[in-house]
Symmetry: C2
Subunit: 234 residues, 2 copies
DNA sequence: GTCTATAACCGGATAGAC
DNA sequence: GTCTATCCGGTTATAGAC
């Protein structure tokens, strides 16, 4: 994340250290026993701190999740860098990034349902549309903007404007599938990614077709309206 | 729901009566204070039963939700009957059914987030893909099958086979939006419904176009594969 | 002001008597 | 079917240490 190394001795403040300790303990325990069966007391224990202290660093058990969530995003970006530097074909770039996502998330699948179920709760600070999540979401969307920016395709402006967000939405859909995927080795999610990436690329290509222009326009206008929270009237 | 009236005196068993009492109390309290701020103790109190007794009828606080969920489905079907009997135009039928959904759900919006957030949790018995929800989901899908069956359009068979489930999925998407909609009077959801119903109808029309045939085929094959839980290999 | 700990609260859930 | 008593774990209050 920030990762600043000031001098040589106190690389990280004591607090940061403790915080990391707790997060690490939580992650281990979540992997071992799942989210529900891991108690805050157990986490504090393994981290070697008191229960109250754990709450000093993380406002709730769910906030622990948000930290993990942000962490996986960093991992995802790192894992995507290589393909993005190499490929110029849109489909290849998108495929690379989506595969990176699946790989990054893999270790978390065991308790992934809990990790991401909050997406559905509008009152949770963890839902991806909440103000608290704005930053992570923006960064995530930026990654998809990069997928497009580095590709050797020319897109109509209206489409280009909306596409990063639409791709982000697509990627959320894949995650929703992933959550429910219980196939061995997550092969079904892998397959979904391969197939849908191809479909998405084809769709983007088809968007230029005259017959489809009005439809594309309607869709984009709708998306824009809804996103920008436009007029309640009319 | 079942609503059998055997004779005249003991129309319903004592149990059913108590069960209804608890559900009613829960609904009132949820509306008044929301889901989180309503305690099982308060529900039991208002229903005039003990805490333990409430748990005899509903295995958990969330199971109370499932009962409500099933209830809204019944309401939805009833509210849709009229349009389905009257209209034969596909878009009009779909619009009617979707509007009926929004109206049916309206009173529950206050705590609707909780009602439906469980959709994201694969381990919850309440998620719409769980075995426990199979029945409700099947009935709901059947409703969309009826939307199609009564419409004066001829669809290619492959499409006709998958469409009910795809429409159900679409309707789940609308619900997801509805959950997050905080516009006054839910006008934004209403608008979303109007616009997307039109888009969906147009898309179904376009599916016949030769240029789109391969794409449509790919999509349908994918959907079918994923639904039927086909081969993990290749 | 940053950090840590202990004790208590509260509400969902369960055990077991009647 | 119904109750009471109890457990358990997330969360909070609060006091003190560095």
């Amino acid at each position: 994340m920030t990762g600043k190394t000031t001098g040589s001795e106190p690389k990280v403040s004591k607090g940061e250290r403790t915080r990391a300790l707790i997060l690490e303990a939580a992650l281990e325990l979540f992997r071992e026993h799942g989210f529900e069966d891991t108690t805050m007391r157990a986490i504090a224990d393994r981290a070697g701190v008191s229960l109250g202290n754990a709450y000093y660093y993380f406002k709730s058990k769910e906030h622990l999740i948000q930290a993990i969530y942000a962490h996986t995003h960093d991992e995802h970006r790192a894992a995507s860098a290589e393909v993005l530097a190499r490929e110029t074909d849109l489909a290849a770039r998108l495929l690379g990034v989506m595969r990176a996502k699946v790989e990054t998330l893999r270790p978390y699948h065991r308790f992934g349902g809990v990790l991401f179920r909050t997406a559905g709760d509008p009152h949770s600070p963890l839902n991806p549309f909440s103000p608290e999540s704005r930053e992570v979401r923006a960064e995530s969307t930026a990654l998809f903007a990069e997928v497009l920016a580095g590709a050797d395709v020319k897109l109509p402006k209206i489409l280009a404007d909306e596409l990063p967000e639409l791709l982000w939405l697509y990627h959320m859909g894949v995650i929703l599938f992933w959550i429910h995927d219980d196939s061995p080795g997550l092969v079904r999610t892998e397959r979904l990614v391969e197939r849908t990436v191809e479909l998405v690329a084809r769709l983007i290509g088809l968007a230029r077709l005259p017959v489809l222009r009005p439809l594309v326009r309607s869709v984009l206008r709708l998306v824009k309206e809804l996103r920008d929270g436009v007029p309640y009237s009319s």
